[in-house]
């Protein structure tokens, strides 16, 4: 089963910020791979990660720099910023309140 991209889109920042926060700088492909490895359910249209990354970059939550991979290729790696860590807290709180609310309805309906 594949989750439709648009429902996942809203939670992408949370996923990306969490990944970067816990695992340090990653390039776009690594981010996708990690998400896939951790959950088959969250299979997204891979390319749509990038506009999302760029939006977060513009917002100042993540910062990109050019790195060289072990195969000697140049890639853009993203790292979380201080503002990104603050945002991570906000996103987590938002996610929790939404899931709590949904769970509450499911339990008591």
């Amino acid at each position: 089963m594949t989750t439709r991209p648009d429902t996942l889109q809203g939670s992408l920042p949370l996923l990306v910020l969490t990944l970067l926060h816990r695992r340090g700088p990653l390039h776009g492909y690594a981010i996708t791979s990690h998400i896939h490895d951790l959950s088959d359910a969250l299979r997204i249209e891979e390319g749509s990660l990038y506009p999302s990354l760029h939006r977060m970059e513009e917002a100042g939550w993540i910062k990109a720099r050019t790195i060289t991979t072990e195969h000697n290729r140049r890639a853009r790696a993203y790292d979380i910023t201080a503002a990104g860590r603050r945002q991570l807290g906000v996103e987590e709180a938002k996610w929790r309140s939404v899931t709590d609310a949904v769970n509450h309805v499911l339990k008591h309906a």
Partner: protein
């Protein structure tokens, strides 16, 4: 927002796009690699990776909008806000743009002149490898001489072989030619004799036909061919390719010769002399036969192309050796018997210089290079004055907008954004000023060029808008924006959000202090410009008030040409007829003729009697009877020339001027004395029959000793006509009369003596006019700057002054406290200005005539004017400070 995206695409999309593409490509390739490693075939892996990734184009668009729009959006908003802020301050903005554009226009005009005359490389192949040869001149006006004789050129060419390929281009001449034989109409073309290899060595090709080659330069007088310049071809023949093969007639003093047009040069090339273009090139072999092998006839520029891997210094040695050898052998042709040894040694050991011809060879440049740099420097100073002035205005405005700034900071605007905002505002002002400046420059630069030229001496500087010019304008705009915006921007970014909101009138004196450096700059530079400009104006006024010693405004100079070639005495008789006819015309006071139209062009060395080795230099002026009466040169002793003297086969009577009499005969009376003179024939004793007052045609120099002799009329002379009525109507009449008198002659041009004289002071007039104008503008700008700073200070300190006065301080003390800052700045500026002005004056001393920089009046006048202007500017603010009413001032709080 789609139009914004489009602008973004135009500006910086390519970098962004490349980054996005790389990133996506990396992703897809990594995915393929992983899939292949997991055992999938490459084709299947590629297809799957692409499918999973999604629509790359759409994703790229999306990312690009995310990256570019905020940047563009803020830019557009800042520009809008900036424009609104500037409009709100309409008059201030207009004044800023006006003063800046004036200075910028001056800078651009100066640059386009400097570019055209000094900087621009010749439009030929590898111009940096071109050289030309010079040697020190004896004339102080032309410190470098670049004319060589035919035998000298041949020796140098042979010596340089293998290292440098030398060719010769004669000094341009302006013969009369007839292109349309049917109408017989004559016109003047700028013609140049060139060796056959000139075009090949320059690397210039033809547009149509062919250019000259060595085959056109083999035997004397055997190659009647000609090449036209592209510009002349377009202008005279409308670019008709059928012109190749046509013949034309060139009229000489001795005969008429036919030439066939063989080709037209390529468009970019119009000669090697910036300022003068050549119309027609003719093979060297077609020169007057008497010039070949004649070391006394010097009319050639020697130019060359260095061979690969040869430096200019490497050819100097061989060329110098050849030149010295040549001069050694040439002594006999240049000195009489038993010449003074030191002069001979000087002659032989004349150093030869190898100069770069990358930007062409130009006597115009030699004359105007320094004045142009001086004007450029003045224009640059103007820009600094105007820039400081506008920066001051901006600073004052920033102070007024302190509240806005601190509010924006408090609301979370980044300092970067505030600085960007202010830089954009100054950018708008600088950009607008640049546009106006370009328009001013496009009017001003040709106007300056037209000051340089006269009817028979056209100056054609190519003032085109090319890349260097555009780059210069761009650089200027950026420089101005930075100059104007930076100080205010830094100032604004120092605003503390909280304190500024709380106590917005807290740090007033600090604010005024930031304006002080600009007052210093303005005063200092304005004083420099005033001082230098004053010197140049004074020099010109002195020069203009020099009396030439002869009539100027009412003397017309009539040049003529022979319509057909006849015997010399026939021509002489025809001219005599013309002179007699003109003399009787109503409105004509006197008539005569003289060689050329300038007295004393011809240097002559005369041995002093008794001491054969000592010589004095005198000018030989060839005239007809009636010359002194026509020119109103007073007779001091003896008599003037008579018709009887003139009719002798070889007149041996001379008239000398007072300088000559004094120099040669001392206190003894000169009339009746004799000395040996050789001109146009063997040496013979000549008798002085009269002494006339000194006259000078070059106002820069003291009168030179002059000998007047009688000439047979022969084609090199100009008719001098002194008129009593309206010169223009009589000029037309003169043409008619000459035509009616003889079919042999035709009038070619009529000018006035005064315009000829004006030409000798062109450089001084140009400098005085422009420097004087700038000095004035600089003064006004500085006064405005001082006024602005003081007004601002008074407004800022009204409360403080009010308190002081309320506490019993006298108005004078209030005024003094307001003025103290600016007065200090002015005095510092004056000190810098005086030092700078004295330093700068070193560069103009060679351009000055009887005006010394260290003169009391030269120093005191600009200083006085500047201080007076500052005083006037300070008066109104000081008055306002003195009139501060403590009650009102404190109530405002």
């Amino acid at each position: 927002m789609s139009w914004l995206s489009r602008i973004a695409n135009a500006f910086r999309s390519s970098d962004v796009d490349r980054g996005l593409d790389d990133e996506m490509a990396f992703h897809i390739e990594s995915r393929i690699a992983d899939l292949v490693a997991a055992g999938m075939t490459r084709d299947a892996a590629e297809a799957l990776a692409r499918r999973q990734f999604g629509n790359r184009l759409r994703l790229r668009e999306e990312s690009r909008d995310i990256k570019l729009l905020p940047w563009l959006d803020s830019l557009v908003r800042d520009v809008r806000l900036g424009a609104r802020m500037l409009r709100k301050n309409g008059p201030v903005t207009a004044a800023a743009i006006l003063s800046l554009s004036l200075a910028l226009g001056a800078c651009m005009a100066a640059f386009s002149l400097v570019d055209a005359l000094i900087l621009r490389p010749l439009p030929v192949h590898q111009p940096e490898r071109l050289i030309y040869l010079t040697f020190p001149g004896t004339n102080p006006d032309l410190p470098e001489n670049d004319v060589f004789s035919d035998p000298a050129f041949v020796r140098l060419r042979d010596a340089g072989r293998g290292r440098v390929d030398l060719f010769a281009m004669a000094y341009p001449s302006r013969p009369r030619v007839t292109f349309d034989v049917a109408s017989g109409e004559r016109e003047t073309v700028r013609t140049q004799f060139v060796t056959g290899n000139a075009f090949e060595l320059l690397g210039v090709g033809p547009t149509v036909g062919r250019l000259l080659t060595m085959q056109d330069d083999e035997r004397q007088a055997a190659h009647p061919v000609a090449v036209l310049s592209h510009a002349f071809w377009r202008q005279r023949f409308g670019g008709d390719p059928g012109i190749v093969g046509r013949w034309f007639v060139m009229h000489g003093t001795k005969d008429d010769r036919q030439f066939q047009i063989v080709g037209v040069t390529e468009a970019r090339f119009s000669g090697v002399e910036p300022g003068y273009s050549t119309d027609v090139w003719i093979p060297y072999a077609m020169q007057d036969p008497s010039t070949f092998g004649n070391s006394g006839y010097r009319a050639l520029r020697v130019i060359g192309r260095l061979n690969e891997n040869v430096a200019a210094e490497q050819v100097h040695g061989v060329l110098q050796a050849a030149f010295t050898n040549f001069r050694h052998e040439d002594v006999a042709n240049n000195f009489g018997p038993d010449p003074p040894a030191d002069r001979v040694a000087n002659f032989i050991n004349t150093p030869l210089r190898v100069r770069s011809a990358a930007t062409g060879v130009s006597p115009l440049r030699a004359r105007f290079q320094r004045p142009l740099w001086v004007l450029s420097a003045i224009a640059a100073l103007m820009l600094l004055i105007a820039g400081s002035n506008v920066a001051n205005l901006f600073l004052a405005r920033i102070a007024a907008r302190q509240d806005e700034m601190s509010l924006r900071l408090s609301l979370g605007a980044g300092r970067g954004r505030l600085i960007q905002q202010l830089l954009i505002e100054s950018g708008i002002v600088a950009g607008a000023a640049c546009l106006v400046g370009v328009v001013l420059a496009m009017v001003a630069a040709p106007a300056v060029v037209s000051l340089l030229k006269s009817t028979d001496d056209p100056v054609l500087l190519d003032l085109r808008i090319d890349w260097p010019f555009v780059a210069f304008i761009g650089g200027m705009t950026v420089l101005c924006s930075a100059l104007l915006g930076l100080a205010p921007a830094l100032r604004a970014s120092n605003v503390e959000p909280m304190t500024a909101l709380k106590a917005n009138r807290g740090r007033t004196s600090a604010r005024a202090r930031t304006m002080r450096p600009f007052v210093v700059i303005q005063v200092a530079f304005s004083l420099i410009v005033l001082f230098v400009g004053g010197l140049l104006v004074k020099s010109f006024v002195r020069l203009s008030s020099v009396s030439p010693g002869f009539a100027t405004s009412d003397v017309l100079l009539v040049s003529w040409e022979a319509v057909q070639h006849v015997e010399r005495n026939q021509q002489h008789a025809a001219l005599l007829q013309v002179l007699d006819r003109l003399r009787d015309l109503p409105g004509v006071a006197a008539v005569s003729a003289a060689e050329g139209n300038v007295l004393g062009r011809f240097g002559y060395n005369i041995p002093v009697p008794g001491t054969a080795r000592e010589t004095i230099e005198a000018n030989l002026s060839r005239v007809t009877p009636g010359f002194f009466e026509t020119m109103k040169i007073p007779l001091v002793a003896g008599r003037t020339f008579t018709r009887g003297d003139f009719e002798l086969e070889r007149p041996t009577v001379v008239i000398v001027n007072q300088s000559f009499a004094k120099r040669y005969f001392g206190d003894q009376p000169a009339v009746g004395r004799r000395f040996d003179l050789r001109w146009g024939g063997p040496r013979a004793p000549h008798e002085v029959v009269g002494v006339v007052a000194d006259a000078r045609y070059d106002l820069h120099k003291p009168p030179v000793p002059t000998i007047y002799v009688l000439i047979p009329l022969n084609g090199h002379d100009t008719l001098h006509v002194r008129v009593t009525g309206e010169a223009t109507t009589i000029a037309a009449r003169l043409r008619e009369e000459v035509r009616a008198t003889t079919p042999l002659l035709r009038v070619t041009s009529i000018t006035s003596q005064s315009s000829m004289l004006d030409r000798t002071v062109v450089r001084e007039r140009l400098l005085a006019l422009l420097a004087g104008f700038f000095a004035l503008v600089g003064l006004v700008l500085t006064a405005v700057g001082v006024y602005g700073t003081l007004s601002y200070t008074v407004v800022q300190r009204t409360r403080e002054i009010g308190i002081r006065i309320a506490l019993g301080a006298r108005a004078v003390a209030a005024v003094r406290s307001v003025l103290a800052d600016t007065t200090g700045a002015t005095l510092i500026g004056v000190a810098f200005g005086l030092a700078g002005g004295l330093y700068a004056s070193r560069f103009v001393t060679t351009l000055l005539f009887e005006a010394a920089p260290l003169d009391v009046s030269s120093l005191a006048l600009p200083l006085g004017v500047l201080l007076l202007a500052a005083l006037v500017a300070a008066a109104a603010p000081a008055w306002r400070a003195a009139r501060v009413d403590p009650v009102i001032a404190l109530r405002n709080e």
